[in-house]
Amino acid sequence: MALIDLSKKEIHCKIVYYGPGRCGKTTNLLTVHSSMADSARGKMLTIETKGDRTLFFDLLPLNLGKIRGFNIRIQLYTVPGQVMYAATRKLVLKGADGLVFVADPLQVRRERNVESLEDLRTNLLDYGLKLEEMPLVIQYNKRDLVDTPIPTLTVEELDADLNSAYKVKTFEASAVTGMGVFETLREISKQTVRYVTNKHLLHETK
């Protein structure tokens, strides 16, 4: 649910990073946070919990600058990936305008990816939203592991598992090194801002 403030000329969009536990959603946000200029980024919020899992969510507000006099602000959220946090995951999804699905390439997590994407689809449906109609990109994370002995899935396998139905843009990334993080963000930002502005701003600025 975007917020359009006509008095301050601001548009707020919410982009949610979704995916199975430990796939690197928070790392994506940390990378973005650490490499952006202070003027464009807000304070990153994480809720401190024991261990390195996200229990509730992380939030990183970004300021995109002006388009036709409108200040575009994006808020990046991550959801807790672990299956048991179903309720909080669904809460964070509330009002999302764009989605990044972060897939884990480890062979052993193959099932988890598919389950998580299905979980995303059903949660959105509960909010009356269809995944195929929303801005969505898929990120194949942890590509740095491909050259290690750890068994990983190939891009083709990931495509077959996750993108055969949606046919959206995919990005190979390595959130810890920063590779592909901004490509992913750039694409989802464009799609989301278009999606929101097409609904509201296009006719306003004619």
Partner: protein, 479 residues
């Protein structure tokens, strides 16, 4: 520009903005997310500078006499701080009365105003919590501390400046609608107070605290002197005349009590709740307080002759208009406006007619409800211009919002093209009538038959019989 081109353009702008934002980082790995740039944990809202504590109370006083009586009130205040509810307020008021009762008589008298203001603040919270200062429970806490200190103090005059005065002024400012010159009133009257005999001072103080009727001279009464104070009666009058007088005064007290409880307080509460009626509320409160003081004075004057359960003298049932309660068979009005409505002759009260005339044809289609703004003439006309009587003084903004139900006649026909419209209004109620003919003034001949209507649910106040013809008189009764 075509829509497509416009859209393309627009999307181009979005892409450019996003590319510019992320450009320096695209693909490039600038630095690994280091622990040094760890996210900031959520910050607590910056707390404001801690408030200075109210003057500390001498601890020694807390264990003084009467201290035990404070804890129920303290508990009640805690509940109130949490939730403003009728039962919480009631508990607090009862606990406060309890404390007052446990005080030494002298002190209870001297602290009358603290008690009464605290009670009044509680009452205001019950009636209109929105208009009470949000620090009210805190102010009551301070009142309680003051009472505590007073309970232990040997001489109240020692804490007068440091505790009593600040507490009183805080209590006053917390109560909504208290007259601004309230404290000044008390001060201005100070010299007068010295003219009173000690006995009279006692009366004044006792008037506010019946519990303290046997008081000795009060050290420092804070009761604003009042012109209502009766001089103390020297000796109880004797003889038959006196007995009659005592009975009359007792009956008067019973009526007065009933009027205050059933008539004045509900109206006062209503005013308190209604925004814009602050002044009326203050006047009403003052009226009630003066009447209550009067009542106390009379009770005091009666002394042993006071009968708390004196019978209320038989009087016409309250609520019924006095006009109708006048001796039967005399029409309460001297003139009525006669008209035919729904084929019948009916009477209206001229003073209740706020509009009479033939409005424009579109008004005739208004259906069962008539917005008064339909009656205004011309684009720049005002509704007030076409109104008469009570509504001609009303604000245009208010008139604009008024919609008045249209009375259904038994004839139930749509208004004819030339039927005149009549609008009645009294206080909050109004009704519009499509008449068959315009009204005609009629002076009610003396001696004609009048039967008041007993059913309060009808608009007919009664039936007037003139020359063998019965005319129902339609009136608006105030709500």
């Amino acid at each position: 520009m075509t829509d497509k081109a416009h859209e393309r353009d627009f999307h181009g702008e979005i892409d450019d903005a996003i590319d510019t934002l992320f450009a320096p980082h695209a693909g490039a790995v600038r630095n690994k997310p280091a622990a040094a740039t760890a996210p900031v944990a959520p910050e607590r809202p910056t707390p404001a500078a801690p408030q200075e504590k109210a003057a500390a109370l001498p601890v020694s006083l807390l264990s003084a006499d009467g201290a035990d009586a404070f804890s129920p009130f303290e508990e009640a205040l805690l509940s109130l701080d949490w939730e403003i509810s009728a039962s919480n307020i009631e508990t607090a008021r009862r606990a406060l009365q309890e404390i007052q009762g446990n005080f030494e008589v002298d002190k209870a008298v001297a602290l009358t105003e603290v008690f009464s203001l605290m009670d009044r603040l509680l009452a205001a919270m019950a009636i209109a919590p929105q208009s009470v200062s949000t620090s009210a429970p805190k102010t009551l806490q301070e009142g309680l501390q003051t009472l505590r200190a007073a309970a232990g103090a040997e001489d109240l005059s020692l804490i007068e400046k440091t505790l009593l005065d600040p507490t009183l002024s805080e209590l006053r400012s917390a109560i909504p609608n208290i007259p601004k010159d309230y404290s000044k009133l008390g001060q201005a009257a100070q010299p007068e107070k010295q003219d009173f005999s000690a006995g009279e001072q006692k009366t004044a103080a006792a008037a506010q605290t019946p519990a303290a009727q046997t008081s000795r001279t009060a050290a420092s009464t804070r009761v604003p002197p009042d012109e209502d104070i009766l001089p103390e009666l020297p000796v109880a009058p004797v003889g038959k005349a006196a007995a009659v007088l005592i009975e009359a005064v007792n009956a008067h007290l019973a009526v007065l009590g009933k009027c205050i409880a059933k008539r004045i307080i509900p109206v006062e509460n209503l005013f308190a709740k209604t925004p814009g009626y602050e002044k009326l509320h203050a006047i009403h409160t003052e009226l009630r307080e003066r009447l209550e003081r009067q009542k106390q004075n009379l009770i005091k004057a009666l002394g042993v002759n006071y009968q708390a359960d004196a019978p209320v003298p038989v009087e016409p049932p309250v609520g019924q208009s006095t006009k109708q309660a006048e001796p039967a068979a005399v029409c309460p009005w001297q003139t009525v406006a006669l008209a035919t409505w729904g084929g019948k002759t009916v009477g209206f009260l001229p003073e209740q007619i706020v509009y009479q005339g033939k409005p424009s044809p579109k008004v005739r289609k208004c259906g069962p409800f008539l917005p008064l703004k339909m009656l205004k003439r011309g684009f720049f006309g005002k509704i007030g211009f076409v109104m008469q009587g009570e509504l001609s003084f009303q604000d245009e903004a208010v008139l604009k919002t008024l919609t008045i139900p249209v009375a259904k006649s038994s004839g139930a026909e749509a208004p004819q093209n030339d039927s005149p419209l009549l609008v009645l209004c009294r206080e909050n109620s109004g009704m519009a009538f499509w008449l068959d003919e315009p009204t005609e003034q009629l002076d009610v001949p003396p001696g004609c038959r009048w039967e008041p209507e007993t059913d309060p649910g009808t608009l007919v106040a009664g039936n007037l019989t003139i020359k063998g013809k019965t005319i129902p008189v339609i009136t608006m009764r105030s709500m």
